[in-house]
Structure formats: C-alpha cells, structure tokens
Amino acid sequence: MDDKVAIVGIEYSQGDDLGLTRERLCFRTVRGVLDKLGIDRHAIDCFILASNDFLEGRTISNVFEDGPVGAYLKDETKVEMDGINAVVYGALRILEGNYDTAMVIAHSLCGHQVSPYLQVQYSLDPTYDRQLGLLNELSGAALQARAYLRSRGLDEGWLDRAAAAALANGAANDMVTRSLDGADESKVASSSYLYEPLREMHCYPPTDGACAIVLASAGRARELTDRPVWIRGFGSSIDSYYFAGRDLTRSASAADAARRAFAMAGISDPASEIGLAEVSDLFAYQAPLLAASMGLADADEAPRRFAEGGFGKDARLALNPSGGALSAHPVCATGAVRVAEAFRQLRGEAGAVQAGEPRLALAHGQDGLCLQQNTVVVLGI
C-alpha cells in the first residue's frame, strides 16, 4: 500500500502496578498523545477502543471510558481483541474515506486488579474444554512448548536462554514491567514450574498498561507530523478453535496473516526486507516460532540464534529489541505496543533500544489460546 494511512503519534505505559484507575490511565494516555501532536480531541474524527469486558468486570465497558478518552459525542467503536486489530480497523476507516483521523486506545489492568488468564479461560468451549477442566492458557502453552522443543531438537535449557535473551532486551527498555539485568539464565532456571517445561519466568508477567495510537490520512498526516510512519500492509488469520487439532510446532495462522500483510506491502522476500520485528511472544518459545512461521527466519536456525542474542539490535533483523511481551503483557494493549515500538524504531526515537535505522518493520499481535488468532501490520517510512 502506498502513502495512504499513517501513524502520526503514540503514547503508552506499562508496569506491574501503575497505581491508576482505568479511567485515569486511559485519560493520561490519550492526553499524552494529543499533547505530543499539539491537538485536542476535536481533531480526532473517530475513536476505537480495545479492551475486554471480562477484564473490566462490566458489560459494554467502553461506554465508561468514552469520557476519559475524549470520545464524548464522537464516533466511537470497540474491538474486543488485541489493540493491533483496532489499528487495522482505524486504517480501514480512514481508507473508506469518511474519516481523516482515528484514535486507537487499548488498555487493561491485569497487574494486580484482575487475573490476565480470565480472557482466554472464558474463551474456551463451555460445553467441552471448560467441563473437562484441563485446558487453560498455561497448560496449552506447555504442550505447545514441548511440541516446539521436540520438533527443533531443543532442551529445557534452551527455554531458559531464550527467556534470558528476551528479558535482557527488556533490561535496556525503561518501558517494561519485568527485566533481567545481566540476562542471568540461572535466575530463569530457578523460577518455579507452572506446567512443565514452562517455568514462571518463561511466561509473561501480569501487567498494567495502555497504548494510544493516532492514525491519519495522507494529507492530514503531513499536517500533523513531518515524520509519518506509513502503514504498508496488514493481515489477519485465525486457526482452529480446537486446540488439540492444531499443529503446535508452528503457527499456520501467523504465517497466513503475514503472507497477507506482505502481499499488501509488496514484500516478496520478508527475511531480507524487514529490518525490525516486534512480536507478541507471551511465552519464551514464541518469538522464534513466530519469526519462522512468518518467513522472517529459518525454522531450524531461529531458536538457537534467538537464545544467543543473534536477533539483537545490531543484527540485520532485530527481533523484539523492546523485550517483547515476555517483558510486559498488558492484555489487549500488547499488540498495539508492538506497533508503537515499531513506530519509534522507524523514527529513530527508541533510545537505548534503538536497532539501527530500520526502513520497514513488522508488528504482530495475538488473541485466543496459544497463537490461535494472529494479526500482522507492516510499517514503513
């Protein structure tokens, strides 16, 4: 896609306890991006909220956030999914021609206020999996981890090194919840088992967070910033609802989502064209699994290279220089944060985690149980 829709501004925060109400968090995040752009809420044509009623504890929870985000008497809709889907929705609304600007605001408060596992647990089939009581986000991820390790000939020590590599990236990023200075894999290895082979530090931390992203049409984008980041392509795909029927060693739907996004972006060789990828790696094995599934890296080489830090900020492909979702996973905002991280990397504003001068970046978000649903957005300058 040519220069049609751009991201012009971002604002986000993550932490294990931001000490805020959800209304204050949403207000602060939206206020932050409006101030950066020097505009007020009347410059925004439509608002798209991404949150989850199970995590909010009330139905149609977005109506309580319309005021704080500035959507009062404005066009407002909601995506009950990861916020990266709200970014795609915003881009579509601008492409359709009725809007010149869209504000995406994604958030949740799963640090201390509510369990992050609720969303997936209550997405399971109530007539089978929930009756059997064996499947949940962690047991599913453990089975996926085992299947992945086995398929690639890796041992549990690899998981420790992969988690340490991700958390070492997070250590340099002041935007994350959990980091590991010195990337001490023994710290990871000594955290307790949840479901083998997954230990507590192989899994994402409970996180508070919010992310606001402003999108604009080409003409409006150039008025709002001299450095727009263009949306080049996007794609979504969903795998089977039946966990037990999926190939757990790769993600067919991530591959499909990426293929659609690359086709739209005119990318024929993603492994050489994409310089930066931010993926929602909820568990330590997922970043290389995703990179390989999406055609960014060789399936055999990716896991070892990832654990050795070979996708660091100096590498030809930087994979999750932010520390990824393993360092902070504010449910619903995580994929939007990947877009925000890609935005600041492309603009050269990522500070200590800046990964060279990428021209083309990929952001990924997931919903459902263990990479069931995947969305990919390709961004460029």
Binding site: Y117, N136, L143, P197, Y242, G245
Partner: protein
C-alpha cells in the same frame, strides 16, 4: 492528582454466575458413548478424517459430518505436560504435580486432552501406547473417561 491515588482497592467484586448450556446432539451422543465405555468420533466424507470429540461440521471441508465411528480405547501419546498449578476462574493455585496429555485414540485423526496416570512422567514418550481407564461413577460425566495409562 495522580499522587493522591493510594492503595485503595474495592473489596473483591465477585461475578459468579451459573450457566446451563445445552450440549447439542453430537456431544450428548459422545457422553452417552462414554457411559458404555465407547469413544465415538465422526468421519468426514471429504477428507476421510475421524474427528473427536464429535462435531457437526468439518472445518477444513465445510461438510456436515454424519458417519459415526467407534474409536479404539487404546491410542498413542502425542504430547504431555506435568502441571504444578491448577487454574480456576483465572486464579492459579499450587497443586500436587499431575500429568495431562494429548492422546490420539486409535482410528482418530485428532488427539483428546486427558489426565495421564499410572506412569512416571520421566518415562513418558510421544508415540507410547496408552489405554483408557473408565470411572462409571464419575460425578463429572466428561470424566467417565477418567484417564489414560500406559498400555
């Protein structure tokens, strides 16, 4: 203002509702089968795969599934994990280690997730032969197929 936000939380706000889902003909027949120590699947006339637990449509072929098949009570272990926590209503609690695994019943294209007992987890390997163990008196009718053990 933000500095005034102290550590006040509301008392826990529980939402604990009961839902009584009607299962539909396919799962009802599956559960009836368990009572007779039978594991029932349905064969797709398009891809030939036998799907379990039974469902009305094959997602891949978009065909209605009509042919019921009795599967073996033995099968092969596909993958497994040892749990050290259990999850209820999104909350984790410590648990005595227990094993669950994906077991593909003989004749089926897909595995069932089930409890694994009577085996040292260190000795479990994918491809191992497993057999179903029944508990006709199980309160939870899904657990009449109680668990699998090495055959």
């Amino acid at each position: 203002m933000e500095g005034l936000m102290g550590s006040y939380f509301t008392p826990a706000v529980p939402m604990d509702f009961g839902y009584n889902y009607r299962l539909g003909a396919y799962l009802e027949r599956y559960l009836d089968g368990l009572k007779e120590k039978k594991i029932l699947g349905v064969r797709c006339s398009g891809c030939g795969k036998v799907l379990v637990p039974p469902r009305m449509y094959c997602g891949g072929c978009r065909l209605r599934l009509e042919e019921w098949v009795e599967l073996g009570t033995e099968g092969e272990l596909v993958e497994f994990t040892v749990g050290h926590v259990s999850m209820s209503k999104g909350r984790l609690s410590q648990a005595e280690p227990f094993t669950i695994g994906l077991v593909r019943p003989d004749g089926a294209a897909l595995p069932l997730l089930a409890r694994i007992r009577g085996a040292d987890p260190a000795a479990l390997r994918p491809g191992m032969r497993m057999r179903a163990v029944w508990d006709p008196d199980a309160e939870n009718e899904y657990l009449v197929l109680s668990h699998y053990e090495p055959a």
